[in-house]
């Protein structure tokens, strides 16, 4: 592989739209045929009278029913498999907070293809075998750990499985090993920076960092910019989900104008979450993915519950794989308060505009005398005044800008830095304590 090439898989990355669609149809037909080895899909196709031969064009995909997380739970643990367990070499599982966990199986080829996607992403943002990649992401069942590990190794980087937590050790590794790239969830990058500051370390001066890969936690453009300003390097958004494999599915190129979803591996649909009809490019809807290369557990039209939109299908970087916007929320985490639809990310976007505020915040929904209210607690970055009135003014201004964005006025409460809960995994942003009306 020539280090100067901008592409890791030029033969796939630079396909034209027509070539992509041709390849997708071939792979879709093969995938559907292969799905008939899965007890779940065999039954489902019989139920709706569909045969693999009925898929003659890409549009025929819409004849196939959606697959949901509930289907994965109902077939727990192995009812989705399209190969005998003997051929599977890896199992990942999501936590089962609401019933059975979901199980995702992988053959050796699935793992290889997964690593290929991650390697392609990391190459795309300028990483090469000379780089040192520190993966500060949870390992174990969380796919961000092993997914990036194998991908970074596939690319040929020296890869450090630092895992999440123990910030002092992370920083020592960054300095001692000459780490040039880190993968972590955005809130953990913020945490690392705070600890660097406490240690008197300036990431620009004292480290060799040049790339951050962030993902797995919804974040706004403002939060990304803040992370880039803090660390002095580019931060690229990553999309993955264990149902598809894990990280690798989509990643930003250097243009940072949407994540390229790899259409040689997936068919991307954006549908209205209510009607399930496709929405035009540019409109927000639910992301639906069909796998095109998976052996152990192919999924057809899987409803991700992630809300996003298509930004475009061409790019100055030379890749014609669809560009998908950052996730705008989940079709199931939307807050409906007093008839107003609110996404936590909207609130975050506003909070990030205030340099006085730190990155950590908590939205609490309560019912007070049959009125539903929202309280936004947000940490103060620095005490910039000793005047109580100035703090009240700041609260007022936050409230005003929030109202402009979400159309209702929440309570805003400034809290000292470090007082809101920080988890090592995904940050808890919304606590709903409202009365539930039957």
């Amino acid at each position: 592989m020539d280090d100067k090439s901008p592409y890791f898989h030029p033969e796939y990355e630079t396909l034209s739209r027509e070539e992509i669609q041709k390849l997708q149809l071939e792979r879709l037909q093969a995938t559907v045929k292969h799905c008939m080895n899965s007890p779940f899909y065999k039954k489902r196709f019989e139920e709706c009278g569909l045969k693999p031969e009925d898929i003659k064009t890409l549009d025929d995909l819409r004849k196939i029913p959606f697959t949901t997380k509930k289907d994965l739970r109902d077939t727990y643990p192995f009812g989705m498999a399209s190969v005998p367990l003997r051929q599977c070499v890896r199992l990942h599982s999501s936590s089962g907070t609401t019933g059975n966990p979901t199980v995702i199986l992988h053959t050796q080829k699935d793992l290889d293809e997964w690593a290929n996607q991650v390697a392609r992403n990391l190459w795309m943002v300028g990483l090469r075998p000379d780089d040192v990649f520190q993966n500060s992401s949870g390992y174990g069942m969380f796919t961000g750990g092993l997914g990036f590990q194998y991908g970074a190794e596939k690319l040929g980087m020296l890869t450090v499985p630092a895992a999440a937590g123990n910030s002092l050790r992370q920083i020592k590794f960054i300095k001692d090993f000459g780490t040039t790239a880190i993968h972590a969830i955005p809130s953990y990058v913020t945490r690392l920076y705070e600890v660097m500051q406490e240690q008197g370390i300036d990431p620009r001066r004292d480290t060799k960092l040049k790339v951050l890969a962030i993902g797995a936690e919804p974040h706004s453009e403002e939060q990304r910019k803040r992370i880039e300003d803090m660390m002095g390097v580019k931060a690229y958004n990553s999309f993955g989900m264990s149902e598809m494999c894990g990280p690798g599915v989509g990643f930003e190129c250097k243009e940072q104008n949407g994540m390229h979803f790899w259409e040689d591996y997936y068919i991307v649909e954006i549908v209205d979450p209510e009607t399930l009809e496709p929405v035009p490019d540019g409109e927000i809807g639910e992301l639906v993915l069909t796998t095109l290369s998976r052996e152990a557990m192919p999924l057809l039209r899987y409803r991700t519950r992630d809300l996003t939109r298509v930004l475009g299908r061409t790019c100055p970087c030379g890749r014609n794989h669809v560009r998908i916007d950052r996730m705008r929320g989940r079709s199931d985490d939307m807050i409906v308060l007093r008839g107003v639809n609110i996404f936590p990310i909207q609130i975050e976007k506003i909070l990030m505009q205030f340099p006085e505020l730190a990155a950590n915040y908590l939205i609490t929904l309560t019912t007070d005398q049959d009125n539903d209210n929202m309280t936004v607690e947000v940490e103060l970055e620095e005490l910039f005044t000793d005047d109580y009135q100035r703090l009240l003014q700041l609260e007022k201004e936050i409230k005003r800008r929030l109202k402009d964005e979400i159309l209702l006025t929440p309570h805003v409460k400034l809290v000292p830095k470090g007082s809101l809960p920080v988890s090592e995994g995904k940050a808890v942003r919304v606590v709903d304590k409202r009365k539930v009306y039957q």
């Binding site: 620095e382 005490l383 109580y388 000292p416 007082s419």
Partner: protein
């Protein structure tokens, strides 16, 4: 002639004040005077101590939202009318006082306050030959 005061952001929640006090106590910081008003969700705890620079670093490293503020400490006689006389001169010069607290120190009264114009306040103090305290007085 201003002195450094610690201004500490405190949430109205049990345990927050003691956390700060314990940090100061462990480092052997002597509190000379302090004040905290009964505001709603949070307040600003204002502290004069014997080593504000060290205390500031300590609290900041401990993750506390803290600021060093410049305040004026006037020394006055501990007799009726002395505070009125002192403040009268300050306000006559057109300077506004943002907050004020007082305490007794070695037999004298001390008025601590922050103004919206410390330069002007200092001029007034010099012209009127008013007695003020410096950080050295609290060492």
């Amino acid at each position: 002639m201003t002195i450094k005061q610690l201004s500490i952001f405190i949430e109205n929640k049990s345990g927050t004040l003691i956390k700060v006090l314990n940090m100061l106590s462990k480092a052997g910081i002597q509190i000379i005077a302090s004040t905290l008003a009964d505001t709603k969700d949070y307040g600003i705890y204002r502290v004069l101590c014997d080593n504000p620079a060290q205390a500031y670093m300590l609290l900041k490293e401990g993750g506390i939202n803290v600021q060093l503020s410049d305040v004026i400490a006037l020394s006055i006689d501990d007799t009726p009318g002395c505070a009125a006389k002192a403040i009268d001169k300050i306000s006559a010069s057109g300077v506004n006082i943002l907050y004020l607290y007082s305490f007794l120190w070695k037999g004298k009264g001390v008025l601590v306050f922050r103004t919206d114009d410390n330069t002007k306040a200092n001029e007034t103090i010099m012209i009127n030959k008013m007695d003020f305290l410096t950080e050295m007085d609290f060492k």
